[in-house]
Point group: D2
């Protein structure tokens, strides 16, 4: 009941041709549709119509969309969001292409969040009958699915309150200014059993830090990094490990400057997961466990 997962990320790109090449031939997503200047993509292991939507117009996040488990969750969450004081708009079936009735919220941070229950189902590439574990003919990195996104907000504490109090996310890890503080400088939040479906760090409102695709393991990250070099895809950081989430990672950029991540590993969360705390002085280790320090660009470059 409630939010199941990050359904899709809708971002702006400055050159649709270059962007399509990146998401299709470097990441290996499947282009599933095109309409009204938007191009739709899904990973081979996803069944819904899309998990990434691109539209021309620079860079940055148009909206993030979460899929809820039951039709009636929409109404209940609408009431809760209204009570939190969030500005809401109803989206009728197919107003968002291939998506059912939906509610769109403008958060205090300026981010657009869409909640929906229904999506057109295209099916995975391995199918539903006696399937193989992976399909032939994948391009580039061949990511199976989207995993999470990370955004910046001027008030990460308020952003975290919205996702936990209204949308019932749990916090897996948080950064506090010092031990014992109630102030949340950054948080990693989950509804699924992954370490995070969304995370927030301090920064300008309405901005995207990165969105991430899932990879099976550390070995897949090596191949991914090799593909990035072959295709001249600029790597930001990695391959390395996060302290926070314990996951393995490569950060890189799409041709418009939107930061992507491929993410593997990480622990399993449950609603009773005991929240992990990082003190601000250890944040470097939290983000990049091997080098134990943040570089300036990593925190300042957003889209």
């Amino acid at each position: 009941m409630g939010v199941m997962r990050l359904g899709y990320v809708h971002v702006r790109v400055s050159d649709m041709g270059a962007a399509q090449h990146h998401y299709q031939e470097v990441l290996g997503l499947q282009r599933t549709d095109q309409r009204d200047g938007k191009v739709f993509f899904k990973g081979w292991d996803e069944w819904d119509h899309h998990s990434v939507v691109l539209e021309e117009g620079g860079a940055g996040l148009v909206k993030m969309a979460f899929k809820v488990e039951r039709e009636e969750d929409l109404e209940e969450l609408e009431t809760r969001m209204a009570k939190f004081g969030v500005q809401l708009t109803r989206r009728h079936r197919n107003e968002e292409h291939a998506i059912g009735d939906a509610i769109e919220a403008t958060l205090p941070s300026g981010h657009q969040v869409l909640l929906y229950h229904e999506a057109e189902v295209l099916g995975t590439s391995t199918g539903l009958l006696n399937p193989d574990p992976w399909p032939d003919g994948l391009l580039g990195i061949g990511v199976p699915r989207i995993d999470h996104l990370l955004v910046t907000a001027e008030d990460p504490h308020l952003f975290t309150r919205f996702f936990t109090e209204v949308l019932d996310f749990k916090i897996s890890e948080k950064v506090v200014p010092e031990l014992g503080s109630d102030q949340v400088l950054a948080s990693w939040m989950f509804r699924s059993n992954t370490p995070h479906d969304i995370a927030v760090i301090p920064g300008p409102d309405a901005k995207l830090h990165h969105f991430a695709f899932y990879l099976e393991d550390w070995s897949s990250l090596l191949k991914a990094a090799d593909v990035m070099s072959k295709t001249r895809t600029p790597i930001d950081v990695g391959p390395t490990r996060h302290g926070i989430t314990r996951g393995e990672t490569i950060y890189f950029f799409d041709p418009s400057g939107n930061r992507n991540e491929v993410f593997a590993g990480g622990y399993i969360t449950y609603p009773d997961f005991p929240c992990i705390t990082w003190t601000a002085d250890q944040l470097g280790t939290g983000v990049f466990y091997h080098n134990r320090e943040l570089n300036e660009a990593f925190t300042s470059v957003v889209s």
Copy 2:
């Protein structure tokens, strides 16, 4: 809301000394407690008091215990279980050691299922403050946590109905006698985002086929198999891959003849996961994807 995960498995062993050596020094679980002839273990990445309980007396399953998200889930599920016609017993706080109020059901298949909401919390080995990704000093395979169990039942269809209709599990994969049949010969069911928290195959009632521990990836399985050889732990099958769940696996036995598994990989499920169907003629490939055939012992040996 409802069942969060497989909380623990309680099994009988014929020689407690040998069993402790196996679960502690081969699997690398931590022995957390001992009381009334029972010995309690948890993985290093688990926070609750135990995920495995051993007691002397041969081999086989005493009970499987699932943890529910909210206190009030117990009452609601009790009502539903009663309506399904299952025989129920209330267990008061600490009747099950280190566990809160609970309800125990005897399924039509003769399996004992315990539902509980509260457990004593011991914490993970890496802690909650600026943690490292893994602890030092692990023994043997060093499994982080329990993952799932598989049982046999004379009527797997009925067993599946109980878990899906009463406990709200979803079916990730099922075996049918032939395409189009409504009859479920075997099923893999989840409440978490893993491919399965419990599964059932045809066989004698009240029996255990295996219970499984999670490993990070295929590389960890190689080390696990090496440790099994070093410790003369008899391997049943593997390392190999499952067709069903797509996971990587080694089956092996504890000294009492209870089958264990170490399991890695597998896809991510959500409540809208489209159920995969295997036809009975492809079951060999479904269980052992590489060899594409079942051996007789695998389906007949249970405890």
Copy 3:
């Protein structure tokens, strides 16, 4: 000076179409040439004209060919082979297609061994100028190169004496009937720094047990096993680890019944490598480290 490596293996196949499909699309070798009923293949990381030669006519080994470092090695080894009492034939340039002057020996075991110094050079797929680490467009398993072969002989001790005394191979590991015995029941021998370029076990004369292709690591073996299942290539044993050589392995069959192996890992040898001894009672563990036992078919099925 002397033998550098196993240059190529020349085997018989019963159905050239099926065989080509296997070596090209399952193993991912490159078909480099065809002449006089023979088809030639090389791995993407090999530079010489071929490492596998197929010809129609059942199954089994036509000859194994070793490349020597210097032209003058041929003459010196010819003298030594003659002194050992081996029957020799000179092969003039291109009598063996794309191969320079060569000497062919018929061993006491009936195996044909060819020594050559020169081969037509085709180059690797990644090239010699600012290369990428791996090429795009590989098919199937995508093996980079041949690694070793294992044959059977009625007198493995004599076979071992030929390779060590005449061709200057060193023994990395040997099986003896009991501790202290001078009798070699089986041996693994090297000229390169790999654990073995050739090995011999007891069995019928003039027979092939298997020839092996190199894979980078244990992760590559999982993909290889998946490809075998997808292509219905019958797996004999594995993925598993050898005790002898410490390497990771999958045995499987080509459509004609010649056993292949993909082999990863293993230690590095040098001429002063201290020979490892296995007693016959531990041979099961030596061959299959995880299961610690040999199956009957593994030792009896040869081609």
Copy 4:
């Protein structure tokens, strides 16, 4: 015949206690001996008395020592070295502790090179009788053996000529100022079948850039990087892949500022390996394949 391998590296350290902790508990080498202010170490898979020698006195290379295959190689190489104009000193048995008769050369670059044939044999940790593939009880990263070293020289071309013309090394890869140039700016050279036993890049004479230990695969590098973070061992670069050698790598520093590397993968060389050429403009990609650029510190910091 001739040089078999890099036998050992003898370096200066500024604090022997900190250095011992690093080589023993972080790298996991075994401390085998101590004498005359020197401390001796070997990897668990090495059989000779030592592969690393430490002595107090700052940082940097005292000497690199290569083991030759035959006693008579010493005399032959002595003659050749003298002819090349290199200054030579004979070292009698045990003048170098646990080493037989030896010849020490002072290269034009100021580096000391020792050639020896005999070393005290201690044996590997897994032994010579029915061995397991790896020993229990390894500390930290648990490196099995030394792999290669890289030094700087003001005239890398001359350095390369010494190793190839006198010591019969082959060049696997070289950097040239531009295509077609005969000038070697940097070279990677081998006597074994690894991509390199020694390499040279431009820089100050008599200096050490790094020495490297072998690791089995990319998965082992992740554990190594984790151990470095846990032990606060400063990582220089990695985990990543080299374009040159195709190997996977982490660079890091010992407490005295000597750069170490753990190195996995890489192709197999043979004496007929076709030399790979890198043009100077692609050197960034050659050294760090993923990021495709060199950082200033990497080329300027030596010891």
